[in-house]
């Protein structure tokens, strides 16, 4: 058996459509679990499948363009390579685009939005910032080419970490519950309908084989389901260690305590991965795909392509 074969990859008890059947792929999880890597790998795979793909980061130090060894995209959509575009959605620019859309004219926008008093107010309007950020992403999801096809077949959202992701994605819902009908609620309604449509949207939750990241994925799953009504499509267990040492191996190493410790540590990490996979599967009721920890001196495009290989069944739905 190859080492990869020993990793708990796809459980066949779940039959799932592949991500390629969906248009909006939302990637989230605890900070530091490798969300951006997974988002980059998924976006690359979508582009390879011939889908025009836009990968969005949200107001962060851009990482995806760097992982793919391309220059940073910045706040305007930029083509990275064939079929692949990227954007870092930032509040100020998104607000401006939204403002111009609502007010129709740039000069109007300037008069209103560059007014100091107005800027001050906008900072405190509840959830307005999230609304325009999410709004920009949803706008690109619905954008069409002159010939009527979608401008982007797939939109991959490298969403903020757990807590922020929940408040970010529940903004339309919250606005609809609290605001009197008006321009903001009209936007919110459109967004909500797309987010909750399982034919359009799929959430991919990323965790590491450790206690806290797994717990956060479980919490995130519950919050997405109950508060936002987004279904978890699958989980990715990143940086998993495949099983390598049998109990017999460990016993045989008794005469070499140092080496036994090395082997035991590896064995423990592999056991943690199995445990984490089981816990995720049980709580998320969704398939869990393991991506092994890669031992490369520098984590760049080659590594992203390797990760992409491990995500193949998640993307295509074929096991």
């Amino acid at each position: 058996m190859t080492p990869e074969g020993a990793i708990p990859t796809v459980r066949r008890s779940f039959f799932m459509a592949g991500l390629l059947d969906k248009r909006l792929w939302i990637v989230s999880g605890k900070g530091g679990v490798g969300k951006s890597t997974i988002a980059a790998a998924l976006a690359l795979r979508s582009a390879r499948a011939g889908r025009r793909t836009l990968v969005c980061e949200v107001n962060t130090q851009e990482r995806i363009s760097g992982l793919l060894e391309r220059p940073p995209a910045g706040p305007d959509v930029k083509r990275l390579e064939e079929n692949l575009w990227a954007v870092d959605v930032r509040p100020q620019e998104a607000m401006r685009e939204y403002g111009i859309m609502v007010l129709r004219f740039e000069t109007l926008y300037k008069t209103v939005f560059e007014n100091r008093l107005v800027r001050y107010f906008l900072r405190f309007v509840p959830s307005l910032q999230e609304l325009v950020l999410l709004g920009k992403i949803m706008f690109h999801l619905q954008e069409k080419l002159p010939d009527g096809r979608w401008r982007y077949d797939t939109v991959v959202l490298d969403a903020p970490a757990t807590g922020h992701a929940i408040s970010f994605l529940s903004v339309p819902q919250v606005l609809l519950q609290t605001l009197p009908p008006g321009p903001m609620t009209r936007e919110a309604l459109k967004m909500r309908d797309l987010l909750v449509d399982p034919a359009v949207t799929a959430a991919v939750l990323v965790a590491l084989p450790e206690e806290m990241p797994v717990n956060e994925a479980v919490e995130l799953h519950a919050a997405l389901k109950d508060k936002v009504r987004i279904r978890t499509h699958a989980a990715v267990l990143n940086q998993s260690f495949p099983e390598r040492f049998t109990d017999g191996d460990l016993e045989a190493l008794a005469g070499h305590p140092e080496l036994q410790r090395v082997a035991q540590a590896h064995h423990d990490r592999a056991a943690l991965a199995v445990l984490a996979g089981t816990k995720l599967e049980r709580n998320l009721h969704a398939p869990v795909y393991a991506v092994p920890r890669l031992f490369v001196p520098r984590f760049g495009r080659d590594a992203v392509e390797q990760v992409m290989g491990h995500l193949e069944p998640l993307v295509t739905g074929e096991t």
């Binding site: 605890k30 900070g31 530091g32 679990v33 951006s36 107001n59 962060t60 130090q61 990482r63 403002g99 609502v102 007010l103 109007l108 008069t111 209103v112 007014n115 100091r116 008093l117 001050y120 107010f121 405190f124 309007v125 509840p126 959830s127 307005l128 999230e130 970490a161 807590g163 922020h164 408040s167 605001l179 009197p180 008006g182 321009p183 903001m184 609620t185 450790e210 206690e211 806290m212 990241p213 717990n215 390598r244 040492f245 191996d249 045989a252 190493l253 070499h256 140092e258 080496l259 090395v262 082997a263 540590a265 590896h266 423990d268 990490r269 943690l272 920890r293 031992f295 001196p297 984590f299």
Partner: protein, 372 residues
């Protein structure tokens, strides 16, 4: 005896603040520091944000709540340690702490109005920096009460380093903003409650803004501003206190990071910002470092039976890749943060949430053990 910069800090500082990106082990470091300080004789409190349930359990507490709870000394017995002072722990509930603050500073007749206002909800939960602010405000409050010789704060996962450092300024800015004063003054003069933004004369700007947010939203915002103005003084005084605490000579910062490249970049950026803001960065803790396997292990592995030898050598090779990656990262960190001591904590076999693991972490933080 401690040989790292954290030893003297544990003995003399009144507040230690653990900062860094999410997922690097800030909570573990914070809990460990408070534990060591208590063991060495200073009564300590660790104020955590979102700890693993097992951390609470390992401290002998069923759960951590918004109130301080004493950690029973018995939990340290298995390690043969008896603390010379008390250790307390709590988990900060952000929303409840904001509500407490309002209850404390708002005039009684305004309280309910403020707590129920949508803008207050936004201020207390969504405004960038508000979580960071309330955590600091809580520490300021605890420090003023003077029940503990040392308070260790574990900070919320911050998307942007500046949110934390800038939080008191933002709150002061919110209270002092000229735009707000200009807006409020006519209403205050007229003694009117229910100020309407449309008092501005239904100006073009106001109408355009209403088109954007809806008119009711603006009305509600102006109500909120008015209610807030009733407690400006109390609020402002506290925000100034919080800002002073950040710069106090007896407050120290511990910047925690993991050795992965993206976390290190963030740590370097955070470090630069803190220096700019005249904050005292006591140490950079690099957590979960992979130690380089000793060369002798390779020789030893060569004596194993072929199948096992392959597996062991493969594992050693992987560990070497990880260790070399970490070494490069740490070298880079040293160059970028001259003058700030770097303390390395190795990655332990399993998750670090039980007390033994906290204890072992402490040995590295204080230099009893050193990563070769």
């Amino acid at each position: 005896m401690s040989t790292t910069a954290l030893g003297p800090a544990l003995a003399s500082k009144r507040v230690l603040i653990c900062v860094g990106s999410g997922g690097v082990g800030k909570t573990t470091v914070a809990a460990t520091l408070a534990l060591r300080a208590a063991v060495e004789g200073r009564s300590s409190l660790v104020c955590t944000i979102d700890p693993a349930k097992r951390l609470a359990n390992s401290l002998g507490l069923k759960a951590l709540g918004n109130a301080e709870a004493e950690v029973p000394a018995s939990v340290l017995e298995p390690m043969g340690v008896s603390p010379k002072a008390s250790l307390h722990a709590m988990m900060l509930d952000m929303k409840a702490t904001w509500d407490d603050l309002i209850t404390r500073v708002a005039p009684p007749e305004q309280r309910e109005r403020i707590l129920a206002n949508r803008f207050y909800q936004s201020l207390s939960t969504a405004l960038a920096g508000s979580q960071e602010y309330i955590a600091m405000e809580k520490v300021w409050e605890l420090r003023r009460r003077d029940d503990y010789e040392l308070i260790v704060l574990d900070t919320p996962p911050t998307a942007h380093a500046m949110d934390f450092l800038d939080a008191p300024n933002r709150v002061l800015d919110f209270l002092d903003n000229e735009a707000a004063k200009w807006l409020l003054t006519p209403a205050l003069k007229a003694g009117k409650v229910g100020l309407s933004l449309f008092n501005l004369g239904g100006s073009y700007v106001t109408r355009a803004l209403a088109k954007f947010t809806g008119a009711e939203m603006l009305q509600e915002l102006s109500n909120f501003m008015l209610a807030m103005s009733s407690m400006n003084e109390g609020f402002r005084e506290r925000a100034r206190g919080v800002r002073a605490l950040l710069e106090d000579a007896r407050t120290g910062f511990v910047l925690v990071t993991s050795p992965s490249p993206e976390r290190l970049d963030e740590a370097i950026q955070f470090h630069a910002l803190m220096k700019q803001n005249r904050m005292d960065v006591l140490a950079l803790v690099v957590n979960r470092v992979h130690p380089l396997p000793a060369p002798s292990l390779w020789d030893e592995a060569a004596t194993l039976a072929p199948g096992r030898r392959t597996k062991v050598e493969e594992t050693l090779r992987e560990l070497r890749v990880l260790a070399e990656q970490d070494l490069r990262g740490i070298a880079q960190l040293k160059d970028a943060c001259p003058g700030t001591p770097i303390i390395q904590v190795p990655r332990f076999g399993l998750d670090v949430h039980d007390l033994t693991a906290l204890w072992n972490t402490g040995r590295y933080l204080l230099g009893d053990d050193v990563l070769a």
